[in-house]
Subunit: 319 residues, 6 copies
């Protein structure tokens, strides 16, 4: 795995960015105030690389050009992520033809788990289709060292998988390293073909990926791997699955996952594994880690892993 020297951006992500509305300590259904944030699985990785590791990042996404879209842009600006690749769609004034995605999410506490309420139907980004984005300009003319997308984007609509593949192919053509976080979301797939479609789409996409990220359940649901049903932070279950995965997808250069044991919404054990060149590396194990808000934990991992790979090329260090 080798990163290019010259490029306008260190990392470009492709995916939805939603306005997150967070009721703080309380519950959504009795809230009177919400704190706003931006978020989106693929974008979070780019933002982490920009703000924690100071790389130059850009996000490819689409918004309706109204006050909510401009608010999410305001957050992306604050995140330091280049907004010049955003596709802006005209506003019809009420959100019938296209919308911006919203995500009401509460944090959970103790025995009450985190709980979200997505309102992301009919969004501008879900309407992206092949040909909408000038990937040649991005990967060819300007240049990108690392490209990241994932299974949430691929599940937004019937057209987004084609956009993901178009982007991944163009990236690899221009020597950009690609990563993909499987992130299986049953609710997104439910209306557009379910798990069967998820596997069809992800199996096709996986052929174009260098760094594949996902937990055991993701590999099972998206790529049809057998699941071990082991709950603890145990690397053996993952080890045999990885062997099978890399056999099927010889293009994978790194495969990585987080391992979590949930004691409560407030206390988790955490660790991570990464496979490279036949070897499996485990991170430090964090036992009884205090959690304030678990949202984006997996994306942070991906962000750190990619940084490590870009810096050292070595999954052992990166994990």
């Amino acid at each position: 795995m080798k990163y290019k020297d010259k490029a306008r951006w260190d990392v470009v992500s492709l995916g939805e960015v939603m306005l997150r509305l967070d009721p703080g300590e309380g519950r959504i259904h009795t809230a009177r105030n919400f704190t706003a944030w931006e978020g989106g699985g693929e974008y979070n990785v780019a933002r982490g690389l920009r703000r924690c590791f100071r790389l130059r990042a850009a996000a490819v996404t689409a918004f309706v050009d109204n006050a909510v879209g401009r608010l999410v842009e305001d957050f992306i600006l604050q995140g330091g992520v280049d907004t010049s690749l955003i596709k802006w769609v005209a506003d019809d004034g009420i959100g019938r033809t296209a919308r911006n995605g919203l995500n009401f999410t509460e944090r959970g506490f103790g025995i009450r788990g985190a709980k979200g309420c997505s309102d992301r139907g009919n969004t501008a980004v879900s309407q992206l289709k092949k040909g909408d984005i000038d990937w040649e300009a991005i990967f060819g003319t300007h240049g990108v060292r690392h490209f990241h997308t994932g299974g949430i984007f691929a599940a937004l609509s019937a057209t987004t998988p084609e956009v993901a593949i178009e982007a991944l192919q163009c990236a690899r053509k221009h020597g950009t390293v690609t990563s993909y976080d499987l992130n299986y979301r049953p609710s997104l797939w439910k209306g557009i073909g379910g798990k069967a479609k998820a596997q069809e789409v992800n199996k096709e996409i996986a052929r174009h990926v260098d760094v594949m990220i996902g937990n055991e359940e993701d590999f099972a649901a998206c790529l049809g791997m057998a699941e071990s049903n082991v709950d603890a932070i145990d690397d053996n279950a993952f080890k045999s699955m990885i062997a099978e995965v890399v056999k099927q997808y010889p293009n994978f250069k790194v495969v990585a996952t987080t391992l979590r044991q949930v004691h409560s919404a407030t206390v988790n054990d955490w660790a991570a594994l990464a496979w490279q060149d036949g070897a499996l590396y485990k991170s430090v194990e964090r036992k009884r880690l205090e959690i304030l808000d678990r949202v984006g934990g997996g994306d942070s991992f991906a962000s750190g892993l990619i940084y490590g790979l870009m810096k050292t090329g070595d999954a052992k260090v990166a994990v």
Copy 2:
């Protein structure tokens, strides 16, 4: 105009209830916090009658059964409005099949006007169709003294005008007095036939209305009346239009309007007019009224007018 003696509810409204997200003093597109409220033109009238005048009110509407829908219900409960007539629609987890309406609205201040960003496409209430609500049970079995709906509900989709007519007809059949606030919203009509369709729909609905409410622009846009283009708080312009209106719609028993002169978002002149039995009555004129947040001002007027009519039957007092 005579109100029934026995009825389970004093007033029932039909219309969308949205979650309003309010950035306070600031702007939506740079906000980091939102205060949540509920709101909707038709519902606001029922809520005003419940909380300011202590009448028994119920709201007919529809929500997706998720945390956002339950939050709006929580607000309606707080408003004291009966929630038993709400139609709950199953949640698909992401808002592709149906959603709950959202309304980001900022207040304006001085020369900066109030500004909203509606996100109400594809809502559960816009999918209401003839036959979904058991109006016979509401107006017949239980009984209602006053029924209110309006031009926002009628503009939600191709099916909602039929629901409004169905409700108005059933109300009048059972001796319930009906009111309608024209509330012309170009953005809602734009995608479903524009002003031409708005006139077709509202002219049909107007045949079933006892108390018609709207400003001059509403009467022009919705019922095809000629507009005078007089800007000040002047009743002459309205007077001649009213003469024409009641000739075309002899079923109107009361016609009412608010008159506003906007000096700035913070200072307005306000007054109101009401016509009944050939006479035109004017309210006290409020010059240079300080405005904190103008949203719902027209609905409050409708609420007070209806209360006055229910209490006295006399538009002169009511206005």
Copy 3:
């Protein structure tokens, strides 16, 4: 224990509802802001049954008709609990003749325990006396499936125990199942006869109760049972006491308690026990449960227990 089929309300509670003023993370005596809530041991049970379990609930209580009383009503409306049984008392403008109860409560954190400051002297509800409430209309004309009151209400004044007994008798006469949470509060009893009076009152009330709830200390203080002084989550201590209790009060059909081991204000072990037909059932034990705010924990338990009993009649499931 059999619940009626036809009834206007599933549950009616009798007790004080106070305005709770909560300084959040900080202390009352240095606060500059308070979040407002409503609360009251007996009412909390009805509210839980309404909002968590969607039963139809009403609260019998009394308020002075001023802005504070109307604020508590606003909270009860939001809670979905029927406010039509509230007795409203005229306001003298300053709270000399009657007041609404206030409760300043801080949450505690770590080794700093939760701490409250009650301001509930001379409240409208404490002035309730026999004959003030038309129990025949409530339990007879309208019908109620379950009636709940408790030892806090009984400790408010010299007249409230009589109201509790009047209500319990009327409830049972009309086939309504009754529950009572002993909730011994020394500060309330101190000025009106102390523990001796508390026992006299509670022993009399206990004769009319089907489902008796209380922790070991409550049974000792209110009903004169011997206390074991075992601190841990241990059911043996409770077991022998229960045997004695049900011998003295053969009318008890279910006796239940929560067991708590307080490691700190932030971490508790929790469990619960319920006795029915000679058998003692223990809930799942929750070890090292993270606590955000302990207020109302016992009331939530009562709420869940009653729901379980109403749904299944089986204390084993309910607990």
Copy 4:
């Protein structure tokens, strides 16, 4: 009018200090958050003299020793007013025997007036009686340059007028200048003898006052003067009344009042008048003054007036 040279405090006030709970922009009866402040007509004057004019001030009052009382003490400390003269009363845990006063007050905006809800019945300070405070120590041993009390304190109970007289007499005996703000509050007098009692009490107290403050309505209600019913900021009405007042109370050295014309809760005209040695002096007239929160406006005036008198002895400058 001559002020002493040596004294421990420049000003001492006697009156209730309440915890004010302020819902901000909104209404009390729908609030979810309150900002806390301290306030009390007599105390406000001392605090203004301390924080705006840096005099050494102390407050004589009484609190129940609980978290609410300690919170008000915390505010008084912040106000820089000496807390060593506060009488602390034991807490009974629930506020049956004595309480601390609370004052829920909303600000008003535009045509909606400011509105308060006092909860000050049965407070520790209203139970103050002759002999409770060691006035000899305060005025004799330590020395005070100016003593201020008022008609709110005198209306708290049957015993507080005697405390006021006891203090005023002791003050004058030791050469301390005394002031009194009539501040007629009908709600306070209603339960303890009404306007007749108010006049009896205030006429007696007035004999011991050097600087008498009040608006026209106050002089009418408290001292039985004839009222002119002139609404505007007009000094003629006040002029003739003052002539009569100083004839009846030759002990008055200065008589002062504020004149307000209320255009709305947000816009008022303000001015003030002061009489001294037969001459009437008028302040600058402030037309269309913007008001954020009117509470304490009169007390601020008294504070500034007293400072001016202490500094210059000249009412013309002071006003």
Copy 5:
């Protein structure tokens, strides 16, 4: 005045960016909470051009690399202004060698004026000296259409005027249009030579400016013009001064000013004037404009004026 076609940035500003701490409605000296913003006279102009007019802007400034500096960077990122030209200075951990500027500012209301408390001594930006910034790279290699700096930056220290002149010269050499807002701040000049030094510095700088902005007092204090002492929104006073100014500085292509009449902190009259090619143009007059927060009003004017000039080259339209 002609703007270049090719350039990396439309506008670059040079000046300090401070963290503003804003107590909201209240006063700094009794605040318990502050809202944070970023601000700085020169930067505000660039930010306005970026966020209101969507031009590509960059800010030249310097920060100490600590959490406060990074917070200001976070605000600049949110403002969409390019942060790549910021000079980062090492942190000594306590701010002895260099600091980041802070500005505590309250808004004023009614008769209480806005009031600030600057804490900007010894800042990193005040230590900028000739040679620190590679202006050739900025104006030559990359290209800039408009460069803006002003009299606040020039007053920061003995070295900043040289930096301003170095930048202005380099800008003009590369065909970049330059603007300068005089913004006279006596407190900044007090310690480094007073008004005499201010005039010496500004007269020198003025030789390199195309668009000069300032109110009458600024021209008097900074360039030694005679002041008319006319208070109202009157253009005659300014007219004769402008004639003199442009005679002395023939390099000025546009001279502009705001005219304000302060009725109170909450209500101002506003207008603006611009001179170009011998003609004086006046903006719309805004009478009795409601003001929420006046900070940055002049910078907003400069921002709009520059945009108008860049778009049309015509001061008549721009003003």
Copy 6:
């Protein structure tokens, strides 16, 4: 160790008091709001003695007389600590000649540690020099029972150690017991001589101290003791060091320390040790203590210890 009977203050502290700006749950570098507090190692001890233990406390410090200085004074007033010994320095309007200290501090959570950003260069208090404070008046004329200062104050500048020594000498001369908390802060010493200077200064100061407080690292860095590098809550390491310390400084009557084992920012083990008359006493060990905000934990310990010593003279009880 014997405390005086007659004294105006129970405790006087000498040290900087800063405005703390706290971003709450979040991070400084992305905050939009800050909660303000006051804080300073030496002052915190006096404030704790005043508010937790109700002793009469005063703080010797210096502020610039601007809104920030007055805000810190407002906090000190609220803290009940006497402000009459504060030295006020004239404001230059921008903070070039002298400033007030600021401290941005975030709390940390779980694996993210607490983190601060001090902005305390060039403060008024750091400019205090010998002769500025009239110690004879404080310790002689008025009298003080206990005097506390510490190693943070001594590290502010080249002149503050002399002020500390001047104060300590004067205190002991008048029979006031003295305490000193070593509180080694490398960032403060870095610019003024580093650890070598820190030892020189602290060794000199230590000769005048009765009660010496510090953790193992403090004793090593400030007094040159050998460090054991034992991480756990273990008293053996400290025991041998203490033996050595008291040999070198026979004037120490009590030596005390806190022992902390940091599991995470949220969970610590805590204990404390105190040596007196050759014996070492250990406090209760608090295992897995939940931490909301660790700032000031050591100062609270000092405060409690001093109270215990003042009350009982016995370090065993005090600890």
